[in-house]
Amino acid sequence: MSSPSIETIGLTKHYNSFVALSDLNLRLDGSKCVGFLGPNGAGKTTTLKILTALIQPSAGTAMINGVDIMKDKKGALAQCGVLVETPEIYPSLKVGEALSMLAELKGVPRSLLKDEVYRVLSEVKMEEWIDSKAGKLSKGMKQRVNLAAALISDPIILILDEPSTGLDPRGMAEVRNVVKGLKKKNRLIFMSSHLLSEVTEICDEVAIIDRGRLVAYDTIENLTSTLMGKTKICEAVFSKEVGEEDVKKVNLIEGVTKVERAEPRRLLLELEGGEGVQEDVLAKIAALRVGLIGFKPHSSALEETYLRLVKGSG
């Protein structure tokens, strides 16, 4: 099986005089999760809509697994699962029926239809709503069913446009966990989001777009280190409140340039140096025996990088 790929070549979209996309060139391949970031109106949804044949480009080509979406939509989307915006499900159909329709359209064999519908609904914890009319579901529930719809036939490419939009915090966390779970499998996930923390948590790489142009595409690590230099912000989580004395001790550790208390049990550490410094700092904080239970890069690094890139692109 060839590796999944998404490619845009010179993709351009005009809405009368407004340029939504301008000569977008992007190639994603392999099994990974790529976050698609950009301010409102940057062209994220326009790109995803072109990739899923919802709109036509003014110029350029969009390809999925090497198949031009405009020339062979059916072939291009054959191995794709898509969730763009917040689709409405035919209100008179039951959840199970709506998903069965998509499963049949995607060629799931009749003998596996029920199992497949149950499987995807289980992934989003909606299996008990299988016989409910779609029109009776709340917005959050509908979005989870829409995510289930994207998972039908186990696609090797997932295109998700702000999948946690409109969900309450619990729903957002659940969707985030579902997407993280999907990442473990062999597939390419291309996901737009406004939530940088979500992207940091889920994605391996990010593509940043502004005013219809791609301004950066790399791993989160490379992007942040390129723009932030050797400075890295990490978050340390403790099992108990960290006292002032302990904060001072952490500040004195070699490689730590700044310590900020985010919450009573959470510190933000600005580190100077590479992964070796991180390793040392982590070991030294642990040796202080102040209840360290977690240590991870803080999303503000991506946020800072993002803001610099977006501001700089104008």
Binding site: K73, V84, E85, T86, P87, E88, Y90, P109, D154, I156
Partner: protein
């Protein structure tokens, strides 16, 4: 094609996908309130006709089998067809944009033409169900009064009615593809079929003295005319004063079939082309 967990997953051919779209769209239509409202209107109209004809026994209805079917059919068939077209076709495509159901289905490995055709067939079958209900009431009453004397012209009229239904749905799907708002597409369809077409036809034929061969409602007159004996003359001039006369045109059966067929083909193709190119923006 194999998914990531090795499930077999071959995308079906268009015909198979078409059947799937028809099946689920039909289920969706048959569960809507509008289907039951239309069914209620049809049953109520049929019930009213049954009661009135049964009670008053009008000679215009009971003089002959042909007169019965002509009068009964003329009371409702075309209205039921028009209402079905408006109810099931008016927002069939515009609803995909306005209600965002298009985002659920269009993003899948299926051609837009298959979705369009599937929705058209589902609307056609749902409309046919309503039409058949009215036809069954008509035949049941006809058999009550004239037993098995069902004139062959009634069969022709039913065939023409089905052709008219196809043409109506062709037009409604075209309008539904043009407008993104469901209410606007339903309103425009209703105005066109209930008022505008008839008005234009009257103005063109009676005042301008020109045959309205380009009007769908003109072609559809063969549904009623075929039940008249003899079939009305193609051109009838009615004097309404010393120097003034109205010209009334009656479509020949050939003309009627061509007009309705042309409306169906042209509108279906145009609607499909618009839907194929329309952005979900």
């Amino acid at each position: 094609m194999i998914g990531t967990e090795g499930r077999p997953c071959r995308i079906p051919r268009e015909v198979s996908q078409l059947k799937t779209v028809i099946k689920y769209e039909l289920v969706n239509y048959l569960r809507t309130r509008r289907f039951y409202i239309l069914l209620g209107i049809t049953v109520a109209l049929s019930g009213l006709l049954t009661a009135v004809v049964g009670h008053y026994r009008p000679q215009s209805f009971l003089s002959s089998p042909l007169a019965f079917y002509s009068n009964w059919w003329g009371m409702g068939a075309t209205y039921i067809l028009i209402l079905s077209g408006i109810f099931f076709g008016g927002d069939a495509i515009s609803g995909e944009f306005q209600n965002k159901t298009g985002y659920f289905i269009v993003v899948n490995p299926i051609k837009r033409s298959t979705i369009y055709a599937g929705k058209w067939f589902a609307s056609f079958i749902a409309s046919l169900a309503i039409f058949v209900t009215f036809a069954l009431f008509t035949i049941a009453n006809g058999m009550y009064y004239f037993w098995l004397e069902v004139p062959y012209q009634f069969g022709l009229s039913m065939v023409f009615s089905v052709l008219y239904l196809m043409a109506i749905l062709g037009v409604t799907f075209l309008l539904s593809s043009v407008f993104k708002s469901s209410s606007v597409s339903i309103l425009v369809t209703a105005i066109l079929f209930i008022f505008a077409f008839s008005l234009i036809q009257t103005l063109v034929s009676n005042l301008a003295g020109m045959e309205p061969w380009f009007m769908l409602t003109y072609g559809a007159e063969i549904i009623g005319n075929v039940l008249k004996d003899p079939y009305p003359s193609h051109i009838v001039e009615i004097p309404i004063g010393p120097n003034l006369r109205f010209t009334v045109y009656n479509a020949t059966i050939f003309e009627g079939v061509i007009i309705m067929g042309a409306y169906f083909v042209v509108c279906a193709i145009l609607g499909l082309l618009i839907f194929e190119r329309r952005d979900f923006a």
